[in-house]
Amino acid sequence: MSGEIDRSWRDPELLAKALPSVILQTGFFLAPLLMTMALTFQRTKNFQLTWTWSLETWTDIFTKPHYWTILGHTLFMAITCVVLCLLIAFPVAYALATRLRAYQNHVKVLITFAFLTDATLKTFGWVLFLDKNGAANYIARLTGFEGDAVNILFTDWATMLGMVYNLLSFAIFTIYLSIDAIDRSLILAAYDAGASKFRAFWEVTLPLARPGIWAASVLIFLLAVGVFLEPKVLGGGKSPMSAELIRQTFETRVNWPLGAALTLVLMVVAVFIVLLFNRIYSLKRHMGPI
């Protein structure tokens, strides 16, 4: 719809609009990131950074399995979170796009509000809900369960619950947008060709919604590898994930090079996994269904 305009990158009108963003993200995103990379090759002495080049940190990382165990756990949790989010989000997104005509806006507003409310507060709300003396057990007891029927607080289950809770909205909105964009006449054409509702969904809607599903997966995965609040508050910090390890390295151990290196490893591995899946995904598309 929108007509694109050819412009020189030196055009003053274009620069006026582009430069603030470029300066912002170069000065406070790209530059810090590059500096973080440089930091990993420095040393610390008595909790003080000394600007001397060394490979000490990287030797440390590649020789201690401890870091990699935590990374593996983080990736496992992140991938599980992606799968759960997709499974839960898809029917909701589909309902939002195809049913709920009259209530569509209300549901959207409710989800948006829940999404925009700060994660700390909501996570704290879950603690109160899941606590031994909290709301969940109170309700369970009222409905006839014995003792502490709900006892998942401070386990990985609670961590996962918090992660899915805090990231689910991303999946719902992204998938909703892709389903909403599907031309309704394509589905009618499938019915016309003799497809049942389920077949039409399976053969037309789902394949056409794939870009949205893929975008949601990538976004949630990248955000899930960085969670810190949920394992700390809901998981009780018992099985730390990478982000918590990184935070401790910076705050408790005051080892900036190591913290920076762990940050980089986490990012590189996460991006590598995304690219790997992307590769498999596009191979599958070129070679047909396997």
């Binding site: 810090p32 700390t120 389920f198 960085g226």
Partner: protein
């Protein structure tokens, strides 16, 4: 010869009913899921006793009273507001301009520009906070400053601008560029084209971006936690409260934090439906 009619694995009516149960059921379940912690917090804020446990000892507003007498909670409220207002202004303006550039113009560095401008979207907040903290620590040592409200605002702007950009970009994408040509043809100068045509038509997107930006900043924990130094906002105040043992004061704060969010989301929806 006619082909036989395809046979579905369920008859059409059973299929439709199953689909409805699944879809409406999932939507209802997810809505309940989303509001469990929110309602839990609101409920506990009216608790009479000292500990947030059920059953309630009684219902009272005394924790709200305590909240308003608590000066550090008041400071936190003030800081949250200042940070959110300033960050919203910057993020919305910078993000809207970047959205117009990314969607409307074809130019040499378009892809790197869009990538750089949107990059923080897919970057875990905690890590962004840490990376920026390192940056400010190094800069602070050179230029002699400490982290505080200004660094927190910068962090918020870095994180929120891409969100604003994406929201406005959708609006720009649906914008018919010939309307600008038409305005120019009617005799409008560049500034007049923006004033009478471009901005009024992009306004719904810019407005939602502003609301989104405000709420993201208002409730932000990770970045504030890393970058605000000793300055507390409501979320970090709550976090420190949870860490030191809970009292119904914190659910009360949480409930207060919800209020502008509810109002703004409803307002945005009203305006969107009118436009």
């Amino acid at each position: 010869m006619a082909y036989p009619t395809p046979t579905p694995w369920l008859n059409a009516r059973a299929e439709a009913r199953l689909a409805n149960v699944l879809l409406y059921g999932a939507t209802a379940a997810v809505l309940i899921f989303f509001y469990i912690p929110i309602f839990t917090l609101i409920a506990f804020s009216f608790q009479e006793g000292r500990y947030p446990t059920l059953p309630f000892e009684g219902v009272s507003l005394k924790w709200y009273a305590a909240l308003f007498q608590n000066s550090s909670a008041g400071d936190a409220l003030y800081n949250s507001t200042v940070i959110a207002v300033v960050a919203t202004l910057f993020a919305t303006v910078i993000g809207s301009a970047a959205a117009i550039v990314a969607v409307r113009y074809r130019f040499r560095f378009r892809i790197p520009f869009t990538g750089l401008s949107a990059a923080p979207l897919a970057f875990p907040q905690l890590l962004l906070g840490i990376v920026l903290l390192l940056w400010f620590s190094v800069l602070g040592r050179t230029f002699n400053f400490n982290t505080g409200i200004v660094t927190a605002i910068i962090g918020h702007v870095v994180y929120i601008t891409p969100f604003a950009m994406v929201i406005v970009a959708v609006q720009v994408f649906n914008f018919d560029a010939t309307l600008e040509d038409a305005a120019r043809d009617c005799g409008a100068t560049t500034v007049e084209v923006y004033r009478y045509v471009t901005l009024p038509l992009l306004w719904p997107g810019i407005f939602s971006a502003g609301i989104f930006a405000f709420l993201l900043s208002w409730g932000n924990f990770y970045l504030t936690y890393s970058l605000a130094g000793s300055t507390r906002t409501l979320p970090t105040f709550v976090f420190s409260g949870i860490a030191t043992g809970s009292s119904p004061l914190y659910p009360a704060i949480a409930t207060v934090v919800f209020i502008p969010g509810i109002l703004l989301v409803i307002l945005a929806d009203r305006i969107r439906r009118k436009g």
